[in-house]
């Protein structure tokens, strides 16, 4: 039992890294995704379609492959080695964050775009008929509908991202998975460190879900299931 506690203590050294990978890439990914989605909505036609195709390609490629290209491939490019970018791409931690944020952008932009397209046009017409301006219409008719429609898929996406951070250990980042793997390699004890790591991931996911549903209830006051459950 004390052995397990020792393992847990060692693995938890990676908790900060896992959480920061998760939260920072989530934030950057969301900002980029909003910009990408806004661009596609604002400039329909060939521009939107090209951006959509690019996002589709990013979604279609395994994250591990992107990690390898960035971490092992970028240092071969002289313009990266010789510019300020090197300080970023020389760090496995930042490589992982950039890749995670990049992939997160591709998935989240599609969720945001989908949520926008699901906005009932009647709501927009009601706002217009009351004389509301474009931004006011967005605030009262479009944004609330986007939150209602986009939140459930976004929750799923956030949880997937949380688990994707575990791939960072493949490029030497010492996160929860990194420490668990280290113990496994050192002691040849396979089950215990991995089970402990799994338990920690589940705790993070449960906690994340709790935060997200609290947030959702805050923004979706009234007229939604949130009120019914109360």
């Amino acid at each position: 039992m004390s052995l397990l506690l020792d393992y847990a203590r060692e693995i938890l050294q990676g908790l900060g890294t896992t959480l920061s990978l998760f939260v920072i890439s989530l934030a950057i990914g969301f900002v980029l995704a909003s910009a990408v989605a806004a661009f596609q909505i604002r400039f329909p036609g060939i521009m939107a379609r090209s951006v959509w195709s690019l996002m589709f390609c990013i979604r279609g490629v395994p994250l591990l492959l992107i990690l390898y290209v960035v971490y092992y491939g970028f240092p071969l490019l002289s313009f990266i080695r010789e510019s300020f970018l090197w300080s970023l791409f020389a760090s496995p931690y930042w490589c992982a964050i950039i890749c995670l944020a990049f992939v997160e952008m591709a998935f989240t932009s599609e969720i945001i775009r989908g949520a926008y397209n699901q906005t009932p046009k009647e709501q927009v017409e009601a706002a217009k008929s009351l004389g509301l301006s474009g931004f006011q219409t967005f605030r009262v008719a479009i944004l609330p509908a986007m939150l209602r429609n986009g939140f459930p898929p976004y929750t799923t996406e956030v949880i997937l991202l949380c688990k994707s951070t575990a791939l960072a250990f493949t490029i030497t980042v010492m996160d929860i998975m990194g420490y668990a793997n280290e113990i496994r390699a050192r002691t040849l004890d396979i089950y215990h460190p991995l089970l402990i790591a799994g338990g920690i991931y589940i705790c993070i996911v449960v906690f994340t879900r709790l935060i997200l549903s609290t947030l959702f209830n805050l923004v979706a006051v009234g007229g939604t299931e949130a009120e019914d459950r109360a």
Partner: protein, 265 residues
């Protein structure tokens, strides 16, 4: 529905109250509209005087909803012109804003904002568009909610209300902006039968107060008792325009007669 008896006000009683004003509230001349190659409105000519109550009817797909949606700029049109209280309607933001400030609209699906309470729905545009202080806006909203007889629902969310109640809130929400014209786009078509009457009565109240009304509806009893004029449309054209008695009893056009045979029993 035989609603004639429910709205015991003939157009003769109050219909003349505004006949002194000469400038039409709304004037449509030669308006045509196409969806792609399909023509939905074909040279519509039509004027509404202040205080007049117009019912627009016709089979589905006749362009009646499209026509009234053009009046507050929710639909664009390709040819002709619309003036609302002397102001020409264009797609320019300023012209649209100014027209929408004087024209209220009520939709078939109520279109209340579901995340706002009834009171917030009614105060929103007052505060955001007309910059009315919150307490004043709430006062005006409560006054209008009393008028549509649901002040007690002010703090509920729209989902908690029946369809008829929601539609009355939608009417109150429009009235809060003190419009000079109210447009109704099939306001009772998505209501359960027992809710229709409360909404029609609210509209009849408005009519009695001299509000200029254009209403697209299939409620022929309502049309007969409230309207000053009935406009019958088919295939994007105005086929016939007549006072209710004449329209129902001695329609001139064969198409109108056929329509009436199908609707009125």
């Amino acid at each position: 529905m035989t609603a004639t008896a429910c709205f015991p006000m003939s157009h003769k009683e109050t219909g003349s109250m505004n006949e002194t004003s000469h400038a039409p509230a709304i004037e449509i001349t030669g308006m045509s509209k196409w969806f792609g190659s399909f023509q939905v409105l074909d040279k519509i000519d039509f004027a509404v005087n202040p205080g007049e109550r117009i019912v627009v009817c016709g089979p589905s797909g006749s362009g009646k909803s499209t026509m009234i949606r053009c009046i507050n700029g929710l639909e664009t049109f390709q040819d002709g012109r619309i003036t609302v209280h002397g102001q020409e309607l264009t797609q320019k933001t300023r012209a649209l804003d100014s027209v929408r400030k004087s024209v209220g609209m009520v939709f078939q699906q109520f279109n209340l904002f579901p995340h706002l309470t009834v009171l917030e729905n009614c105060t929103l545009a007052q505060r955001w568009v007309h910059k009315v202080p919150r307490t004043v806006a709430e006062g005006i909203a409560m006054e209008q909610l009393k008028k549509v007889r649901i002040p007690e629902q002010a703090h509920k969310y729209p989902r908690r209300l029946s369809g008829g109640q929601q539609q009355r809130v939608a009417i109150a929400r429009s009235l809060c902006l003190r419009p000079r014209v109210m447009l109704f786009d099939e306001p009772t078509s998505s209501l359960d039968p027992e809710m229709v009457r409360e909404v029609l009565e609210t509209m009849a109240d408005l009519a009695r107060e001299g509000m200029t009304i254009i209403c697209v509806t299939h409620e022929m009893g309502f049309a007969r008792s409230i309207a000053d004029r009935i406009v019958f449309m088919d295939q994007g054209r105005i086929i016939e325009e007549a006072p209710p008695a004449e329209f129902f009893d001695t329609p001139r056009q064969a198409r109108t007669q056929k329509f009436l045979e199908q609707v009125v029993r």
